[in-house]
Symmetry: C2
Subunit: 409 residues, 2 copies
Amino acid sequence: MAVNLSPPTAESLLPVSGVELGYAEAHIRKPNRKDLLLIRLAEDTHVAGVFTQNRFCAAPVLLCKEHLAAKKGIRALVINTGVANAGTGEEGMHAARKTCGHVAVEMDCTARQVLPFSTGVIMEPLPVERIEAALPNCVSSLSETNWLAAAQTIMTTDTMPKAVSRRVIIDGQAVVVTGIAKGAGMIQPNMATMLGFIATDATVDADVLRDMVHYAAAHSFNAITVDGDTSTNDSFILIATNRARNPPVNGEGTAEFHALRDAVTEVATLLAQAIVRDGEGATKFITIIVEQGKTHEECARVAKSIAHSPLVKTAFFASDPNLGRILAAIGNAGIADLDVSRTKLYLGDVLVSEYGGRAESYTEAAGSRVMKEAEIAVRVQLGRGKESATVWTCDFSYDYVKINADYRS
Amino acid sequence: MAVNLSPPTAESLLPVSGVELGYAEAHIRKPNRKDLLLIRLAEDTHVAGVFTQNRFCAAPVLLCKEHLAAKKGIRALVINTGVANAGTGEEGMHAARKTCGHVAVEMDCTARQVLPFSTGVIMEPLPVERIEAALPNCVSSLSETNWLAAAQTIMTTDTMPKAVSRRVIIDGQAVVVTGIAKGAGMIQPNMATMLGFIATDATVDADVLRDMVHYAAAHSFNAITVDGDTSTNDSFILIATNRARNPPVNGEGTAEFHALRDAVTEVATLLAQAIVRDGEGATKFITIIVEQGKTHEECARVAKSIAHSPLVKTAFFASDPNLGRILAAIGNAGIADLDVSRTKLYLGDVLVSEYGGRAESYTEAAGSRVMKEAEIAVRVQLGRGKESATVWTCDFSYDYVKINADYRS
């Protein structure tokens, strides 16, 4: 079902020194599936995160922000699927706090040194007692080589686990960057992924790590969209254990900084794209590039207007070059002074539209040829500036409706 | 398929003195269907309109605005289905002008006294010669009693014609308000309907009529959404033939003004709701009322965030009370200082959420009961002001995907 996406092999995922992962079947919503993940971090690990901007954000998101702000050093992450613990009010906050408390006992740290994450159905209570009961199994399975099992544990409607590793040389020293993510639906910029965790053994200054998580998010998870819905629980966490012997990355603009930031961003981008490739019901992977805008922001608006249009997405599903729908979406992006006679639209290498109408050279056969491909690039030139933006999305199929109409049953 | 919507009977549609309607099969895109409508207006008729804000707006929209601005008195409207004449550049403008010219010859007026409208596939050329050839058939069928046939002629993916009449007494004099509309997809606020035409024989000042068309649009066509896509061709036209013997409606705030404005708005609202009831693939008719906001605008934003969420819409299709998705959509509306602990969510008469979580009194059985109904009211109280907004929408079904994946084939 997923578009050009294969499950990662366990061997391809490089351990990150100082990061151990343990999992269990806690029966949070359904039996016989891994649904609880514990990540233990070595001392002196730095952790930075970005979170959903949804006002109805989940209790664990509020608690993550609180615990990160306390700067007491994060020693563990606990992630459950099945129940999102969002739209649960005060009771939900209490449940998230209790979860952190149980983890703290197992990890011999304080509750404030634990970050909680939940994903699943909104407005249902978190069964804390099941999490408590399953935690010992998580602890006994802790291992640095469990990245694939961890990726499997955080899946919900994902059809396959998402995990990526890269090794990068920083000033002669090899460091590792390994990440996992889950997505599949409720995916849109700010934040896009439901959950993403990337760890590196690189030695990095804590402030630099915070800058890096924002940069990586902007160029990866915030540049994808499946259905325009922003989740209540979206979280992206970047972990640095400082175990590698690279010279500390402690300032922007240095070669070390760029090497590490690029590696983290590459892993984040591959994970984000994997979420789109495995988007609910996806049959096509679509890259939308908007160029020649006055600002990056207006380019992103046009790209998202195209990416969010159900009419455009169903046309991609049908492989139908009904490309006027893309023009309508461009016109719909809210750029009041857009001169449509200066815009150009390309589908793959085919010029579709210029001077506000169909290009003279365009043929339906050429459009059809590109629309039949599983990976399609849409390129829009606005003809009014030098900025650009890229967004990745998928098509809109029967299966999207089926998956979301059936999700709880 | 449409939700609680029956086709209007010819007898229910009251003629408007001074408005004649004629139709023909012009074979613009498909054979054996009425696809060309001509509306002849008596002399001294006032016409006002509101149009799409899409920057890629169609050639006929540009020409309508030009011809209305010329204030030479509109004598005819010509409407074709099959081809939208949008995304057609200079050639499209030329085709629209030629169409008006052909109508002008038949109607013995100037081209600037003709308003053109098109709906259908974007980025395909308008076959003006077919329109020209079919115009004599339109002329020979002109009649004041053709409102039902007119509503049928402008249908595209609509499953049934949409037409409404009302009689209203203005200062002792009966006047008639009759309207037709087409919609079905590409429906969202600003402008919502692809095409809507309402005529009255009331005597009205031209400036008052312009105010009235904006008011009626805001409370009807701009308060509905099917899929969040704004068409390139959306147009809503209000016609007053000034044939009735009512004292002229020439100022706001008078009893006559309110009587006529309310009648026009009621007809527009029923037509707009009919478009939603007949939304592509619709199985549910959903009214979203957002109350206690600081401004009407923020209430409308919350209502549209709910109405546009594919996850909410698929849950309605499934009759699944997965109501946390509505909370997520509220949180997603971009109100940065929204205090979710003060919001309340009702589904029909059932209190679903308060204090940021599930209401203690709420039961899944109560939610399920409401979700199974064909007409559902969602009520959100923001707890921060006195303003409100109402939006009408429909659910998102397999058939929406099917209709839009197959539309051109």
